[in-house]
Amino acid sequence: MATEFAFPDSASKTDAASQEFQTEKMSLAMGPSHPSTHGVLRLQLELDGEIVTSCDPVLGYLHRGDEKIAENMTYNQFVPYTDRLDYLAPLASNVAYAIAVEKLAKLEVPARCQAIRVIVSELARISAHLLGLGAYGIDVGAWSVFLYAFEEREKLYKLFEELTGARFTTSYTRIGGVARDVPEGWTGRVEGFCEQFLPILEEILALLTRNKIFQDRTVGVGIISKEDAIAYGLTGPNLRGSGVGLDLRKDKPYSGYEQYEFDVPVGAKGDCYDRYLCRGEEMRQSVRIIRQAIKKFPAGAWYAEDAKKIFAPQKAKVLTSMEELINNFMIVTEGPQMAAGEVYFEGENPKGALGFYIVSKGGGVPWRMKIRSPSFCNLSILPKVCQGNLVSDVVSILGSLDFVMGECDR
């Protein structure tokens, strides 16, 4: 009556010798709450001892349905949601979104507004890369980088707070302009930040760049070839790390990027170390752009004044003129008026190309909006690069890809 319990596998392993030497593959769930997966990413790993034989990223833990939410609100109401895409660089996402909708409206914003947007995007890039570096340092075992990077980010947050009213969820842009003009003396303080930031950046990078321990963990690890990088649709520093010099700020300039002089750093080998080096260099270039933008910071309007059906009138007008009051009500309740049509716009965000594909049937609410998030596309290469690496290298590769889950899952 008593039957011996047989493990499902054991029957197949008839050969005694192989039973002795062959180890079973282990499947391991890394995440969704693992410190090195930077958020709620789960990697379903299959391990042969320490070697990863397959890696399957499982996404969706942070899914909020942003694209559907967008269909139910006016274009301006969606701005706070773009903060929560790449929450490490909310300003850059705000800017990319606003430009996408403006492209739909065929609206040109004034030079001052463009310059403000360039400055905030680049500041956001610095802040995102600082966090990327700091977190990467922790991933591979260098704590102090994180602390020094955060000290700098705090200074940036102070600047953001002054400009937008919030440190983190900036919601700064509006369709046709920005939420408010730069405060008195703000550009001077940004200049001051850049001044003191460069030496500190060198100090931070010096802790890692020529560090043998850091190099042991990153050089030659997670190599992504040029062809693969293009085939998998990588963008941003991850693509440039593999030696492809694609930068939308250069190749399809928007918001006046064509006026600024800067270099696009690319890597030689496409390993984790190259991606790290690219991020470091990009911060230096961002400082260069900010300085140029501040130097020729244009005066004049900071929102498109003639776009009467798009940008809500200023308070002084709303409170003193009946027409403007009605216009304010119209823009708020009906949304900024767009023509029917389809538009796709990509901006060069810190993590890569953030794209918005908007289908409008006219009116102030998108009919459909698709968000192309760089982190999501960058992650698609994980199964390929992780295969055959050690488990500890997976941590190093993840950190070097520098993704953010708010944007992957949106």
Partner: protein
Amino acid sequence: MAVIQVERKPLTFAERTYIPQIIGGLKTTLKHFFAPTVTLQYPEERPEIPKGYRGVPTLVKDPHGREKCVSCQLCEFVCPPKAIRITPGEIPAESSSVHVEKGPQAFDIDMLRCIYCGLCQEVCPEEAIFLQNQFSMSGYTRAEMVNNKARLYELGGTLPDQHFKWDKKKAAEEHGNAH
């Protein structure tokens, strides 16, 4: 204006012994060890709040202590997470501001939903709702986190009029008999 290749020089022999980096790292650490601290001893020390900060949304009264909100419900409409609930009400005939016609009977902002985006302040045609300096809110129950009208006015206080609605009102203000 170009694509540049990031520099990667091989490590020298000395660098491969780990020693220069360890010494360099320690130097940096020591430098920061003696540098002034950058952290703030919150809550004893409070951060400086810049002008235009987006804190907890509040309702404000005008310098005469009168309700500014006319219950137009624009803020309720625009609020992306739908945190505001307004029940409009008539202004009683015996009130001195009966000509305003409408005012909020109830005005609730659910701080568990509010994302401090500031859109309500931006759209309000009466400058009645402002995000002010308070940045921390806590409570033990969900009900405590819903700010009702009385609480909103208590938090908001009085702000000077930034703009005068209609010139008529401004003239009246100057004559000291604004209503």
